[in-house]
């Protein structure tokens, strides 16, 4: 059950949601809502943007200014929203394929601009809504409906990608640690710049079923068992880390933010 303080942020008239029973997305939505409440945001001054996919249906359930855009393009929409009205707080919720395949270009450029948007990536390693096709984060060897013999492509490390492209806050957690997810999202919202919070989640119906982990609880336990905090991971060998999820905060830096820079440009031009 959601905590009472987030109830004002829910469009209960729009429920039941489309997510499968046991899906990890609800945990992430709850963490996002708790973060927004804790940071004192108002729903009518908050925009939740998304692309297409299971994760991207989240804005429909959140009673704020919400926009469900085209596949992969939510950060480009969010960029226009933020630049046109810098007063708004923007959380962009994305799936792994949405963010890193079709939306890869927008992702790296949002990071490069360091625009004040918090991107929450719900990484379940699969395209769930369209029936379990492989994504750029499907692990090598894992089965997907378009990788029936096991995936052979190396997968993206989304946090490294975001850090390399210029994001000013980058962190990763899993749905097995909801309080840490909340903490990172909160820090992302408070950071003035592009924040990326990757949350490892699962799709037991599409990924789990094909890869012999069909039960939600087994998926959560798997995520917990595979998690290695960054400090510990730094002392581990590459082979030991192969199948692990390194969690923690990877980037926290104070660099110029795009919208603020543009405001200064306006002041300069207008004198």
């Amino acid at each position: 059950m959601p905590r009472p303080e987030v109830m004002d942020w829910l469009r209960t008239r729009f429920f039941p949601h489309i997510w499968c029973p046991g899906c990890g997305h609800g945990i992430i939505m709850h963490a996002i809502l708790r973060s927004l409440v804790d940071t004192g945001k108002k729903p009518e001054e908050t925009v939740i943007a998304s692309g297409i996919g299971c994760s991207s249906r989240m804005p429909g359930y959140i009673d704020a200014c919400t926009v469900h855009t085209t596949h992969g393009r939510s950060l480009a929409f969010a960029t226009g929203i933020k630049l046109a009205n810098p007063e708004l707080t923007i959380v962009d919720v994305m799936g792994d394929g949405d963010c890193s395949a079709i939306g890869g270009n927008h992702f790296i450029h949002a990071a490069r601009r360091n625009i004040d948007i918090t991107a929450v990536i719900m990484n379940n390693n699969i395209y769930g809504m369209t029936g379990g096709q492989s994504s750029p984060t499907t692990p090598i060897g894992a089965k997907a409906s378009t990788a029936p013999y096991g995936a052979i492509e190396p997968n993206f490390n989304l946090c490294e990608l975001a850090a390399g492209a210029g994001a000013s806050y980058v962190a990763r957690s899993t749905v097995a640690q909801p309080n840490i997810c909340e903490k990172y999202i909160k820090k992302g919202i408070e950071n003035k710049g592009f924040s990326v919070v990757e949350i490892m989640t699962f799709c037991h119906t599409q990924f789990g079923r094909r890869n012999k982990i069909p039960k939600p609880v087994d998926n959560i336990n798997r995520l917990r068992d595979k998690s290695v905090p960054k400090a510990k991971a730094e002392k581990m060998a590459a082979e030991e880390l192969q199948d692990k999820i390194v969690t923690g905060e990877f980037v926290e830096k104070d660099t110029p933010e795009f919208v603020a820079e543009y405001e200064q440009l306006i002041e300069r031009v207008r004198g």
Binding site: V67, T70, F77, T79, G80, L83, E87, N105, H109, V269
Partner: protein, 377 residues
């Protein structure tokens, strides 16, 4: 006092947009449209507006739609290949009823084609480019003065009808320099989107006023909470699979344009009352056509001129009204046949429709159209 400027078509278009109240531009460089982005990058900050050069054409229309959701009048401009890239998000703007203006400065195609040469090959892309049914409004200037004026019209229509409006300019017009009379800003009639008059708790974001089939639109940050989606949605903006709700939405967005077509459609004629032959041209071609018509008149031929300024909705009724005396309509176009089929459809077999095609990257010479007129009279 109105001012006189000597502007390039693309600059006039950008200036018209600014005069219309445009305060956001999202773009990506592409020949022959880039001067629109360049002008906006220079002028918008002076007016507390926002310019952004996005990472690609898809992103630039996305940012433009996003900006419009906050209540800002927003523009994006491109040419052929960029217009193709924008089509998916253009569909979202139709579906979610977000007012934006999209300029396509037409160049030769398909593909990279002829970046620095004129064409009129995007007429059908403007009408049917995005997937799914939608009511298109597309305006087509023929002079630099009209680049300025139609930019204002485009914003007024976009705001009134809550949907994208397309301006189909072309390479010659975009780069041509002409005198432009710029009216005083307070003499320009501007239209702003309808804002909700109800409290946030009573706001139903897609509940249309039956008087005009157009819902009021709150901006993000105006104190309202609402949902925008590219999914087919009900009055609450929530996705629906219910047949009556789907049909209601689809038919309403078609109807909101169709029932006010007389307010939208603009056209221009000359010497048409007794014309046996009508030359129907648009964009840069219309000027060559008019020149040929005048020469033919001087030579004693009963030839008239009809120019759709609004390409979509196509001025069927307005053209039909001119067909009592006419036996032939000549349609010179810089494509292999796009608007000619609309003319055939609108003329209902009452006249012979003659296609004149030019696809070598150049503009018709008046003599070529005159030749065609002489062939048919």
């Amino acid at each position: 006092m109105p001012k006189t400027e000597f502007w390039q078509g693309n600059v006039a278009l950008a200036q018209g947009a600014l005069a219309a109240g445009c305060r956001f531009f999202g773009g990506y460089p592409i020949t022959p449209s880039s001067e629109i982005a360049e002008t906006m990058s220079k002028e918008l900050p002076k007016r507390d507006g926002r310019f952004i050069q996005m990472e690609d054409e898809i992103a630039s229309i996305a940012a433009t739609i996003g900006a419009s959701l906050t209540g800002k009048k927003s523009l994006t401009a491109t040419s052929g290949p960029g217009f193709s890239l924008k089509q998916e998000n253009l569909g979202l703007a139709y579906q979610a009823e977000v007012p934006i203006v999209v300029v396509d400065v037409m160049r030769g195609g398909p593909s990279t084609g002829l970046p620095t040469k004129i064409s009129q090959q995007d007429v059908m892309q403007a009408r049917w480019g995005t997937h799914g049914d939608h009511a298109t409004i597309a305006l087509c200037p023929s002079s630099v003065q009209e680049c300025y004026e139609l930019a204002i019209d485009a914003f007024n229509l976009a705001e009134r009808f809550r949907q994208p409006v397309i301006i189909l300019s072309d390479e010659v017009l975009g780069h041509m320099r002409e005198r432009v009379i710029v009216p005083e800003s307070d003499s320009i009639a501007l239209v702003d989107r309808k804002k909700p008059e109800v409290s946030p708790s009573d706001f139903v974001p897609y509940k249309a006023d039956p008087k005009d089939d157009i819902p009021a639109m709150a901006g993000f940050g105006d104190g309202y909470r609402w949902h925008v989606t590219g999914l087919t949605h009900n009055e609450w903006g929530f996705p629906t699979n219910k047949a009556p709700e789907i049909e209601q939405k689809m038919l309403r967005v078609m109807r909101k344009v169709e029932r006010f077509r007389d307010d939208i459609i603009k056209y221009d004629t000359e010497s048409i009352e007794d014309a046996e032959v009508i030359v129907l041209g648009y964009g840069s071609v219309a000027r060559t056509g008019l020149s040929a018509v005048r020469e033919a008149r001087a030579a004693g031929h009963k030839v008239g001129y009809f120019r759709p300024v609004t390409l979509w909705p196509f001025p069927d009724k307005e053209l039909q009204a001119q067909l009592d005396t006419a036996k032939t309509v000549i349609v010179p176009e810089l494509n292999c046949g796009q608007m000619v089929h609309e003319v055939e459809r609108a003329s209902c077999g009452r006249v012979e429709v003659v296609q004149q095609t030019l696809v070598n990257g150049e503009l018709f010479k008046p003599s070529e159209i005159l030749e065609k007129i002489k062939e048919v009279v």
